[in-house]
């Protein structure tokens, strides 16, 4: 069909819709009252049009009118319309609630169900307020029909979710629990869902449901297939109810009562045994239903984590599923085994399947299955298999989906650190991570490797050598340049003896990557260069030439420019001793929890302050506090809130007095130079008076406070008649700059 024809079809469709809508308007707005049948027809059409995707803004009144009809079909359309097109008009809500109230009181199960379904589907606050007391009563009343009980239970569940405060269960609790004994399994199903939800909020109130649920479950599991005819699905007895009961049991810890516990164990063993029996049917529905119950049972076993035999049996069963021909089962087995791996009872049993899991990683065609295999390898990792698992994960990383690479990187980094006996292996692993998936190696990971190298003397030489070799690669990832720059800057001296990695070679290697890197990396490299100047005086000239070049000193980026300028200057004026002190080797980082683990848990992609920066501030931050430690906390905090701990305030209330008029700026001017390097100090002093300056700077903000005080030598403080201060801004600064 060409475009023109398609347009014609669209136009025709629109015409049909508008004709129908037009009809609706004509009829609904007309004087004649429609009979129920016509009304139903039109409301139904409106609904249909709405469901096609067109907006409907009328018909609500007619729909509400249908609610009061005595005919099921008319009522049904009315309820359907208002459930799908929820309207917030308060008059309509009032009318709707009235209709619902009437239907609930009608004692007609069909009408009651329609009303209950509407409440469950809409679940509005107004409905909750109107019917919160009514519905529990219906649920537990002796004369309520089974199907109505089912609907009432789930209706209550919905209202409890949206308006829990309106439904204090209190008096109804026991009666609701008792529904678990109902002979209608549909009622039991609905009641189990309700109790499970309520038990999550107030477990103690529903503790009594445990034994009832267990009894029910036992009966189902051991029943012959003819017992539960209506509820047998492909030869499996009440699979959904079994799953729900097992789910309810997971709201609680293992039962304290010994007989209850043994009954439950028996029940679970039966379920596990049944899985081994030959199937009654080849149909996939049969096996799915059976396995649904099995997996939920295993979930309960894992949740309780108290019966070693059960855990091991569960593990073996899952192990069989790992090689099943159905992908669904392999997937679920991998997922389930992941939780089993963390239990001390089954950890060893899980490990025996490592080859199968590694094979899954290599051969599974559904990426989500491969991902579960990765998760399982991570969960089953311990000292005995760490090397093997990390190797496999690294090789998987080479071809992994981009979406999951970051997670795998984090996991490998954590495993490598946790199980490293020999830290050279750890360094190799991280460098491999950067090589294979550099883009996905977050800051936390490469910060961590540097922290570890700094903290461990025995691996520093190896790290320097390995990083040096890795940088030889023609195209290496920027993260490698960062790591390499830092490590060579700190430990390049350890390999400088070898002519192949002499200082000049090291510098040239790093500098060859310089222009390819982003600003933060270049900044890091500049720091590495000044460290080289300290370590290797023989390359000082070469590096100074580089720092002196226009591309550094006049770099568009402020940080780079500042570093180049300052490092260059430092290299000129600092004596070797001072240089060595300033650029002393980084001290070991304090032991702290790995931020990588936290990142893996969060995995929200937001940035965290890495440990490295904190330490750096602690090490270098103290240098900023010079001789004057008198800081007023309130002043600094107001302008420059900082999380650096302030020294205890010993700020003497320095009151300076005004200097005599007539003192010109010329006297004070030379003193200003003093304040280029010093934040605080006395700017003027005579017999009567001292004036001090206190200043603080942070990035582009600065604050200067002038304080005046009586000179210490003043003999008679009481002679002051009056005192006032003021600060005059002068164009002095502008003049000076030019």
């Amino acid at each position: 069909r060409n475009a023109f024809q398609l347009c014609q079809i669209q136009l025709y469709k629109l015409k049909c819709v508008s004709i129908n809508l037009g009809n609706g308007v004509l009829v609904c707005g007309g004087d004649k009252t429609l009979d129920g049948y016509s009304k139903k027809k039109y409301v139904c059409k409106l609904l249909f049009i709405f469901l096609l995707g067109h907006d409907i803004d009328f018909g609500h009144m007619e729909a509400v009118n249908l609610l009061s009809s005595n005919k099921y079909t008319e009522k049904q359309i009315g309820y359907l319309f208002i459930s799908v097109l929820v309207n917030c008009n308060s008059d309509l809500i009032r009318l709707i609630n009235n209709a619902i109230r009437n239907d609930l009181a009608s004692r007609n199960p069909t009408f009651m169900n329609l009303a209950l379904h509407c409440i469950a589907n809409v679940g509005s606050r107004e409905m909750a307020e109107a019917f919160a007391s009514e519905i529990p009563r219906i649920l537990v009343a002796g004369d309520t029909v089974d199907s109505v009980k089912q609907s009432a239970a789930l209706c209550l569940l919905r209202l409890n979710k949206t308006s829990p405060d309106l439904l204090p269960m209190g008096e109804w609790t026991m009666r609701v629990v008792h529904l678990l004994n109902d002979q209608h399994l549909g009622v039991v199903t609905a009641a189990t869902s309700l109790i499970t939800t309520l038990a999550q909020k107030s477990p103690d109130d529903f503790k009594t449901s445990l034994s009832l649920a267990m009894t029910r479950l036992s009966r189902i599991v051991t029943s012959a297939s003819i017992d539960l005819q209506d509820y047998t699905y492909y030869f499996v007895a009440a699979p959904w109810l079994s799953v729900k009961l097992l789910r309810l049991l997971q709201c609680y810890p293992p039962p304290e009562d010994a007989s209850l516990r043994s009954r439950l164990t028996e029940c679970l063993e039966t379920i596990l045994s049944k899985a081994q029996e030959p199937s009654k049917s080849k149909k996939v529905q049969h096996s799915n239903a059976k396995n649904a119950v099995l997996f939920e049972a295993i979930s309960l076993i894992i949740h309780h984590d108290s019966e070693p035999t059960l855990l091991v049996r569960a593990c073996n069963q899952l192990g069989q599923f790992l090689q099943h021909r159905e992908t669904n089962l392999r997937y679920l087995a991998l997922e389930s085994m992941c939780t089993l791996a963390s239990s001390e009872f089954s950890h060893e049993a899980v490990k025996t399947h490592i080859e199968t899991v590694i094979n899954a990683l290599k051969t599974e065609r559904d990426v989500s299955v491969r991902q579960r295999a990765v998760d399982l390898l991570y969960a089953m990792c311990d000292r005995s298999n760490a090397k093997q698992i990390v190797t496999e994960m690294l090789s998987y990383l080479e071809t992994a989906d981009y979406a999951i690479r970051e997670e795998i990187v984090l996991k490998v980094a954590i495993l490598a650190e946790k199980y490293a006996v020999d830290y050279t292996w750890y360094v190799d692993t991280i460098l491999n991570l950067i090589r294979i998936a550099g883009d996905y190696v977050s800051e936390e990971v490469w910060y961590r490797v540097i922290q570890i190298v700094i903290n461990r003397d025995d691996v520093q030489g190896y790290a320097a050598k390995t990083v040096f070799e890795a940088l030889q690669a023609p195209a290496c990832h920027e993260n490698l340049v960062k790591v390499g720059g830092y490590i060579l800057g700190e430990f390049g001296n350890l390999i400088a003896g070898d002519p192949r990695s002499s200082p000049l070679v090291q510098f040239n290697l790093l500098h060859s990557k310089f222009h390819l890197c982003s600003v933060p990396t270049r900044a890091l490299l500049l720091s590495a260069y000044i460290k080289f100047i300290n370590l290797f005086p023989e390359v000082k000239g070469t590096i100074q030439d580089v720092l002196r070049s226009d591309s550094q000193l006049r770099n568009a980026d402020v940080e780079l420019q500042q570093r180049a300028v300052e490092y260059l200057r430092l290299s000129y004026i600092a004596s070797t001793d001072i240089l060595a002190t300033v650029l002393e080797e980084m001290p070991p980082f304090p032991e702290r929890e790995s931020s990588i683990l936290a990142k893996l848990k969060k995995k929200k992609g937001s940035s965290k302050l890495p440990d490295l920066d904190d330490s750096r501030r602690n090490v270098n931050g103290s240098a900023e506090h010079t001789d004057d430690t008198e800081t007023s906390p309130s002043l600094s905090e107001d302008l420059f809130p900082t999380d650096r701990p302030h020294p205890p305030s010993s700020f003497p209330s320095i009151l300076f007095a005004r200097w005599a008029a007539g003192v010109t700026n010329n006297i004070i001017f030379p003193v200003f130079f003093r304040f280029v390097c010093k934040s605080n100090g006395v700017i003027y002093e005579n017999q009567l008076l001292q004036i001090g300056l206190k200043s603080e700077y942070r990035q582009n903000l600065g604050e200067i406070n002038a304080l005046s005080r009586e000179a210490q030598t003043s003999l008679s403080p009481a002679t002051w008649a009056s005192f006032s201060e003021g600060i005059q801004r002068h164009s002095l600064a502008k003049r000076h700059r030019s």
């Binding site: 609904l47 199907s147 549909g186 799915n288 992908t327 970051e406």
Partner: protein, 150 residues
């Protein structure tokens, strides 16, 4: 719990959308498109379960889609990540078998022209985000009774 049930054809047209949580109209539309995009690219080598990757938070969302394809229609149930996959997979099949019985070899057009009846079937078997009734016998009996009231 169930968050929503969708029946879509291969072209992406929605034949049934049942929501068990509050969503805006925009959110509903987005979800419908997302489900369609995710489900139509899968084939036999994939599982019947999809966990949805959120590229914003770089993690998996806390729900998953259980789906199965019947001829030209995809039946999708969106559930919490902690729910039992196989149980809901078979809940879909149970539902389809009921539809099949009720409409006598159901096809897509049956669902289109009898949309209001489909809602009735859904409400018999699912309610408030949970499974309500699983016995095909009981559901069909009820449906036939309701039909006789017409």
């Amino acid at each position: 719990m169930i968050r929503f049930i969708l029946i879509q054809n291969r072209a992406g047209k929605t034949r049934l959308a049942k929501w068990y949580m509050q969503f805006d109209d925009d959110e509903k539309q987005k979800l419908i498109e997302e489900v369609h995009a995710v489900v139509t690219v899968r084939d036999a080598k994939h599982t019947n379960f999809v966990e949805v990757w959120d590229s914003l938070s770089l993690s998996f969302r806390n729900f998953k889609i259980i789906y199965r394809r019947y001829a030209g229609l995809y039946f999708c149930i969106c559930v919490d990540v902690t729910d039992n996959n196989l149980a809901y997979l078979e809940a879909i099949h149970n539902f389809v078998e009921v539809l099949n019985e009720y409409f006598h070899n159901v096809c897509e057009l049956d669902l289109v022209f009898n949309f209001y009846k489909v809602y009735t079937v859904v409400d018999e078997m699912f309610l408030a985000g949970e499974i309500r009734e699983t016995s095909q016998t009981k559901v069909l009996k009820q449906l036939l009774m309701l039909q006789s009231l017409e």
